[in-house]
Amino acid sequence: MVELKHALDAKGHCLLEMPTGTGKTITLLSLITSYQLAHPEVGKLIYCTRTVPEMEKVLAELKELIHYRDRYFHEPGMEPPKILALGLSSRKNLCVHPRVSEEGSRESCDSQCRKLTASWVREAHATNPDIETCSFYEGLEAAGAEGVMEPGVYTLQDMREYGRKKGWCPYFTARHMLAFANVMVYNYQYMLDPKVSNMVSRELEKECIVVFDEAHNIDNVCIEALSVTLRRQTLDSAMRNVGKLKAAVDKCKATDEQRLKAEYQRLVGGLQERGALPRGRPTPGGEDWLANPALPEDILREAVPGNIRRAEHFCAFLRRLVEHLKGRISVEAVVQESCTTFLATLQESINIDGKTLRFCYDRLSSLLKTLEITDMDDFTPIHLVADFATLVGTYAKGFAIIVEPYDDRLPSVPDPVIQLSCLDASLAVRPVFQKFQTVVITSGTLSPIDLYPRILNFNPVAIQSFAMTLTRDCMCPVVLTRGADQTAVSTAFEVREDDNVIRNYGRMLVELAAAIPDGIVCFFVSYSYMDKIVSKWNDMGVLQDLMAHKLVFIETVDVVETTLALDNFRRACDCGRGAVFLSVARGKVAEGIDFDRHYGRCVVMFGVPYQYTLSRILRARLEYLRETFQIKESDYLAFDAVRQAAQCVGRVIRSKADYGLMVFADKRYQRADKRDKLPGWITTHLKDAHLNLSTDMLMHIAREFMRSMAQPYDGLAIGKSLLTEAQANAMSSGASL
């Protein structure tokens, strides 16, 4: 908390590693909201989370906090301060329109919404009442500037209810209230992805405090925000889109040429200045497109080049571009090149220069708007192409273009793909660091913590890794290096296929299943490895032995199937049958699902979850990291693997009353260079005697641990992990002296 305060005082950024279950969220929320209270000049708190459930959790905690504050706020002559806090999510999560909210995907929901709320639809509605509009949006519009929410904390559910009650559209109300709220909770994308953040986060003032929670993967999010992948199917449908556009332009020309002319005039004057893409409020309608994929500072503020100003010229331009890309994608071997060389070939073959490309995206948006096209999801492919073109045109450095004729893992299936891959995580996050005075990055696993400022290229004023004070040793990390027969176990490439290793892993799991109650979670390094090992186990009879003790559930690539498996896993744990969940590091389960209490009494990490090192993108990125930030490949890979492993095992401890055994089953964890990359809260509990174990030693430790943890856990916390009242008083008096 002190570190956080320092960072706030110094108006700098900070990086905090706090273990899970230590009240990270509440600490951040309580200090920052109090700080806002004490220093009114500080702006909003923007709390970025990764998933919607996390968002809900944060808002629920904030609600409790504010409730507490209202009760205990005693300042003579002052009312308890009012606060407005709300969550912003996609239309899919917020929509209350009876039909639109039933839509399956986010995209279709978005486009359905646009159909009802676009400015021209509403104009048409004014003359012809048969055209349907959204009553909730109209309700908000009617309220106009008066449409201000009462102070309070609104979760997404509350927002929906509020919207229903008032007859306002929750999504647009939230967008509107952005300017008034004290605390905003939303997704990373809204801050990092330039397409979305230009639309949403543009108008936030500089004094805002931005918090990235669970930010151990922030570099990957940044990279994803600026990467584009084009498949052949995408290009094919992009081609069809171009045809459709052309037809629409022709039709428009025949019926309403004036409109195209007006657009042309606007374009001559430049896109931004003339407000061809009006943003924020007051917008005439809810049709807002996603903004330019490039970062705001990199967008050219000048007139659109002449060769694409006219609609039909632009269509021809797009057709040429897509044709060219289709030519490029049909290669036999892998091609990797930089943006510069790509542009050079483009210039050579179809005479398109980089500058034109940069306008591609805005020009497309403008055209779609002029043509009054609302079903955006149909035009996603051409949008992707435009994204691609704009990014290629804008950035010469930090990107790589990789064309692969097939997936390395399935070489027999042709699946050509062009990837524009961002190599530099700092690109997307830079505007955030520059714009806002304080950015807090926090997670349970940020070790080694000094690597993050290098990857993200910023200078934090405070870096701190907090240890966890526990009333008892409720974590028991152990490193298993050998099987019962003393042969080393590892998922290293050479021994991965070895039957001996697989058998040893299997025997270990069976024995663990016999000694550990309720739920066990296992993480494998990849889906393919898991498939292989499970089928081998089946042949060896390991799986049958395992089933005698516990039911076995497996994570699959399919989300629905996995959710079902998880649900049944929980039921098996609840009713005392016990279950094992086999899942994959970096998968959905490893990132977002908690296995707290009896759902995860033990977690086994089979192997070191290295990234797929043959991936071209990863290689390009590694090379870039080495050249630009002087980070060694092996260092980065090990860092990345260990942070994933730590993330996986961290799933089982969600509070201090919880306990769990953490098994790192690979001899490579024995090495110091892996161990010292583990976060502090794990290493402090990693005893010497728990290193380099064989299966039988592990079983002994597991039994002892389970027995000792099953002893009654009484409230002896005071004095050890909680301060007594006297100690707290002593601290505060010491601080004031």
Partner: protein, 449 residues
Amino acid sequence: MAASASTPHPPENWEEDDDQEADEAAEMEAFQRQYEDNFSWEALQEDEFGRLRPLDFREEQRAKRRRLLSAAATACIRRGMIRYLQIVVDLSRAASIGDMRPNRLAVMSGVLQGFIRNFFDENPLSHLGIIITRNGIAQRLTDLAGSPEAHISKLQGNLDASGDASLQNAMDMAAESLKSIPPYGHREVLILSAALSTCDPGNVLDAVKAAKQNEIRVSIVGVAAEVHICRVFTQETGGTYGVALNEKHFEELVFEHVPPPPSLATDAAASLVRMGFANRNQDGVGGTAFIGKECKLSSGGFTCPRCKARVVDLPCSCHICGLTLISSPHLARSYHHLFPVKAFTEMPQAELDTLKERSGGRRERDRDSGGMTCYACLADLDPIAVDHGEAAGVSVVVRCPECRQLFCFDCDAFIHETLHNCPGCLCSAGNESAEDGNHAEQTDAMDEE
């Protein structure tokens, strides 16, 4: 294989995993070292009789005291004196694991036999039955009955573990037999569980609900680890759940169930229970008659006051008219559960020192009386004296909150477990009227009765 052949080898320098033989050898023993560095025998000392005794008793004694205290802390709570206890013994495969010596099963059955004897000693009015579960089914070993020896002999004949345990089946069976118990009876189930999973025909949570409905208190003692469903069972029904660390701890946990549990508020309404004080028959040829259900011709036994049927042993229920037959000593033995001796408080070292200071002067004068001695057994309580004295080790000193007398640990245990009366309080009650003034001083000098 096409897939594996075409997957090239990842570059060496990225995923290196060279062996660090030297390091490994050093760390190899870390696991063993924690046992080698454990010089637990140095904490022991041989006394003059050649027995091994720990140097510092206090930790061990405090643990024991904690158990006593928890029993005493619930003093003045209504207790269910007439208990109907179903014991469920888990004879699943997991019971044959040898992490307790010689194996879990042997430990469980040994402790259980001791428990059954103790149970009837302390609760002469109560009944007990045994259910075993193995191979996914539950089986009734003995019906609810009074005689300990019958249970024990039956139990000894049925000890082979196999298959899975079924919590639901066992609970259904226990609930079935406990359902018909009259309302004054206290319904309990004690499960000794070894398995970490249960194999149930339906939803085990229904069994939890049923147990709660029938006001059955379910307590579980596990030997391996905490299982969620067991926790749910005990929490929902108001029982306790313990997991044994070792054999000794297991015994302690099971024996915690010997004294009757506090009764629930719901059945607090007082009710009269009809009982018969059976007359003892004459021994010898003159008193020979057909006795009991089995109609054995023998002498002795007891006669039911209502229907004049003869029974072998007390306490029991009459096999003809169903009347509960007891003798008055049985009632008296149950009585102390209602009025336990108050828990003694442990004296902190600092307070002991000041007390020593005060008594120090007097000690010079008359060494053999007064000073820091146990009120009950006159053992010296002064740790300094112990150093060059005969008694070994440092011991916990306790004080009765009523009469403020000091007692040694052994007497404390004896008073609470067996005697059920505080000698200090009894003495002062007799002298209350005669003596006044400085009460504590007076009693200090007093001799034991």
